[in-house]
Symmetry: C2
Subunit: 223 residues, 2 copies
DNA sequence: GTTTTATAAATTGTCGACAATCGACAAAAC
DNA sequence: GTTTTGTCGATTGTCGACAATTTATAAAAC
């Protein structure tokens, strides 16, 4: 619910570049040249440089000294590593939120879970995944660990990139997935930490198996 | 075995500031003014700005738009959150390195473990903690998860800050700790994932209990 | 005496220019 | 023909100056 229109120029540019990277308009492995971006947007290089440092924090680019910024590649190895890390961190989050969630938190979690169910029944893939993300973020907030929140937020762009890449192949699992979310929500509402954690871990493992094959054909010609 | 003498100016400055923050020469809550740092080092503000963005990545400062950079506070809440995250991530690392460690990895882990033992017997507190960190880093490398490696590396400065703050009160546990490290090492060498993970988790939990009380008296006058 | 408003100082944000460095290509040596 | 060396172009790194914004200070109103 943030109404911030602008933010600093650097942040706007970071957002702009982030969108273009997620949508594959700028491809993994591409170099981002400061001057190109600056001229294209009619600004100077300083804010562009800062934007690149912001993107580096979110692992969207890798800054190589005196060489510039490359868009990070979504290799199968990275995807596997990300899922393994998420299993641990989100598993922890699931358990913690059964301990710390307020009634208000639980309500928000419930809402997102129901929305995901509705969307899955309507075959609204985009709405479904937005609901799942909201569900996760609501649990994250409820877990009351700012650091974990930060770390996972910094991973979110990578998650979105993977989702964008494998959007096509993931539709199959939609109904099945929705039931897992429903189950996870139930465990959270019942404050069953052990099962909440287990459900999350299983869910991420399952996601990985859907996502990994779809990275095979990713061959990007360098511009 | 790297021969890099300098690194970019910004990185050097980041290192310089990091040292001063860890050693409490610059205190939590202090504002870092770009011009002050630049004049003090006889350089311009641009590399200082970049240095601050680097420090932000390592959670040493918080950059607030149009306000500047504040040194992050090591509150008991943050310390608790950090330990909880580390229990998950390092636990995972311990388990994974039993699966993926090469003979070379195991040798390095063994060396660090033995060194920690020697240092603890000699009451060499500084050497001991360096050995423990090396032990952890060796396990981390052996776990073969670059992302986890990155995330934990970004947490390392926070760990060092906590260690610096509570260096005095931690000497007590030295011998006891050394035995846990030895046990952990044994499980890794035997490739017993379950026990390696459990040992790490217990160790971090124990660390937390030693560290947390020492944050009570932290009252820092703003400069 | 407290609150509000206006002004001044300090600080970050952005800019354009110059310096330093790296990569690619071509020329020369072997 | 292959390797080495040198030059050129492109790109990042750093600088000093100016603009925009925020905080601090002081005056005025109530």
């Amino acid at each position: 619910m943030s109404f911030k229109v602008s933010g600093s120029l650097a942040e706007q540019i970071a957002g702009h570049l982030q969108d273009r990277i997620i949508s594959l308009e700028i491809k993994p492995g591409d170099w981002i040249r400061e001057l190109s971006v600056a001229e294209e947007l009619g600004i100077s290089r300083s804010p562009v440089r800062e934007a690149l440092r912001i993107l580096e924090k979110y692992r969207m680019v890798e800054i190589i000294p005196r060489r510039g910024a490359v868009v990070t590649e979504m290799t199968p190895e990275f995807i596997r590593e990300l899922h393994e890390v998420l299993i641990e961190l989100l598993g922890y989050t699931g358990r913690k939120c059964t301990e710390n969630a307020t009634q208000e938190d639980l309500a928000k979690i419930e809402e997102a879970a129901q929305r995901s169910r509705t969307c899955s029944q309507n075959r609204d893939l985009y709405g479904y995944y937005r609901a799942v993300i909201d569900f996760g973020l609501a649990c994250l907030t409820a877990a009351r660990n700012r650091l974990a929140e930060q770390i996972i937020s910094e991973l979110l762009p990578s998650i979105r990139r993977i989702m964008y890449i494998s959007f096509a192949t993931m539709g199959d699992s939609l109904i099945e997935d929705a039931e897992i979310i429903t189950a996870g929500n139930r465990y959270v509402q019942e404050r069953n930490g052990e099962m909440a954690e287990k459900t999350v871990r299983d869910y991420i493992s399952k996601l990985q198996s859907y996502v990994l094959p779809s990275t095979r054909e990713s061959e990007s010609p360098h511009a």
